[in-house]
């Protein structure tokens, strides 16, 4: 299974010639409307996607568990507004479980 995932990750690194590179607006649109499509191209279960605000290039940050970074493709292609757009992916091994922050206990 892991081998299969690695192959998928490697294959998707190739960028189709017809795809243009994403700009910052594409990143926002992709995360807003194409979340399911992006997740399908990342062969891992524990994944968080986000748009960094550091100005270091248009990309999606993908947080995965430490050691799983290699399984994340370096780029993905999705269709935005009728054209193929290639999105650079930055894999980070900083996945953390997110929990709703209500405080509750069973009464003693």
């Amino acid at each position: 299974m892991t081998r299969q995932k690695s192959k998928r990750a490697k294959r998707s690194r190739g960028q189709p010639q017809s795809a243009r590179s994403a700009d910052y607006s594409d990143i926002r649109r992709a995360l807003d409307r194409h979340g399911a499509e992006i997740l399908k191209q990342i062969p891992l279960k524990k994944v968080q996607l986000s748009q960094p605000v550091d100005g270091a290039g248009a990309r999606i940050c993908v947080s995965v568990e430490p050691g799983e970074e290699q399984k994340v493709p370096q780029s993905i292609v999705i269709r935005i507004g009728g054209s193929n757009v290639s999105i650079r992916i930055e894999a980070l091994g900083d996945y953390e479980t997110v929990k709703a922050q209500k405080g509750d206990i069973q009464s003693s």
Binding site: P52, G103, D104, S107
Partner: protein, 388 residues
């Protein structure tokens, strides 16, 4: 059998009052303090005799006293009062005080800890019962759980509808119990998790609790959608709204955010600038929450897509705001019990609704999406954030 005190305390006290100053004024005797004590040097109610106690910095032997030409206390006593202690039916004792007596050192703090008033930073107990409603204080919907389960979240902010009815806004999972509530459920303040044992005993049923602590009635919420066999739906908000019962508590402070000043209304959405890739304007944010109080953070990512763990299961969210505490913050930006907090920008304008967090990050719904979704769910027209 207990031995009766041999010397009356009154005669010792009178001697000290009469001659105490003279003893201290004599620079040759080394006495730094004088008082009424016990020959045993024990507690005043033990059964030994009362005596005139002289305190010295360090007790010396007779030989050392002689070598330094310091008179013994009995000689000094006799010189001042005209006769030796035994002739006056009094006993004396010398006690080693270890040092001179000095005033307790004044409070000193590291300069970095200095607050606006010279002490620690001001704070407020956001877990107590408030007579005036404001953002940042502990609340919960106890229906279906109390008294078996205790819970608390945070009152985020106050809005009003076109008819000027006031509502509090918090998370679905705080006041609508993850879709499991009913319209009209009573919201109580403080949260049941913050009640003392005595208060829990006094309000031992849901009816008694509601009667004592109610502040609002649940009006509407946006369902949190959990995955089904067929699909994993995306959520964008975790929010609910409850109409404030104005007869229950004062509403004079509805624009206040804990002790962090007042709300200045609704702020703009965060947008990444299409050229620079940075957020236009400041990314510094603040919140007041029931658990961690007033904290300072930085928006570090937008359009976050992630799974979030609830009691009822895992739900998927998109378009969320990720926040990290600033270096100036002494702990996390939020923790359990802070759910529902309003998050404000530097201009004190509302930008987000806190609902979840991980070990290092806090997640929040964009405020404009929350207001729009609650406005639709409530169906009473446009909602406006109350401001001071």
């Amino acid at each position: 059998m207990a031995k009766a005190p041999d010397v009356c305390v009154t005669s010792v006290r009178d001697w000290v009052r009469k001659y105490g100053n003279a003893v201290l004024d004599d620079p040759t005797n080394g006495i730094i303090g004088i008082g009424v004590g016990k020959k045993s040097t024990g507690a005043l109610d033990d059964d030994s005799s009362f005596c005139v106690t002289g305190f010295v910095q360090r007790k010396l032997t007779r030989k050392q006293l002689k070598a330094r030409a310091i008179p013994e206390f009995s000689a000094s006593f006799a010189a001042i009062s005209g006769s030796r202690p035994e002739q006056q039916a009094l006993e004396i004792d010398v006690v080693d005080a270890g040092s001179t007596f000095s005033a307790t050192p004044k409070l000193r703090v590291d300069k970095s800890q200095r607050g606006p008033y010279g002490g620690p930073l001001p704070s407020v107990d956001l877990q107590k019962k408030f007579e005036a409603i404001r953002g940042g204080i502990g609340i919960t919907n106890p229906a279906g759980a109390y008294p078996e389960y205790l819970s608390v979240g945070t009152l985020g902010f106050i809005v009003c509808d076109p008819q000027e009815r006031l509502y509090l806004v918090s998370n679905n999972h705080v006041i609508a119990n993850e879709n499991d509530a009913r319209k009209g459920n009573v919201i109580v303040q403080p949260g049941t998790l913050d009640l003392t044992d005595t208060e829990l005993d006094l309000m031992d049923t849901l009816a008694r609790l509601r009667n004592q602590l109610r502040i609002a009635k649940l009006s509407a919420w946006v369902d949190i959608e959990f995955p089904t066999a067929a699909q994993i739906p995306f959520n964008e908000v975790d929010c609910a709204i409850a109409e404030i019962e104005q007869s229950r508590r004062s509403v004079t402070e509805v624009a206040r955010i804990g002790l962090g000043g007042v709300s200045r209304g609704l702020g703009p959405d965060y947008r990444v600038d299409a050229d620079s890739g940075r957020v236009a304007g400041s990314t510094r944010v603040y919140k007041a929450g029931r658990t961690t109080g007033w904290t300072e953070g930085e928006v570090v990512a937008l359009n976050v897509l992630t799974d979030v763990e609830y009691g009822a299961g895992v739900a998927r969210f998109r378009n969320q705001i990720a926040i990290k505490p600033t270096a100036d913050n002494t702990g996390p930006f939020s923790d359990s019990g802070d759910s529902g907090s309003g998050i404000y920008n530097q201009a004190h304008k509302l930008v987000a609704l806190l609902f979840a967090g991980s070990a290092t990050r806090t997640l929040a719904n964009p405020a404009r999406k929350v207001l729009s979704a609650l406005g639709s769910a409530l169906g009473r027209g446009r909602l406006t954030v109350v401001q001071g």
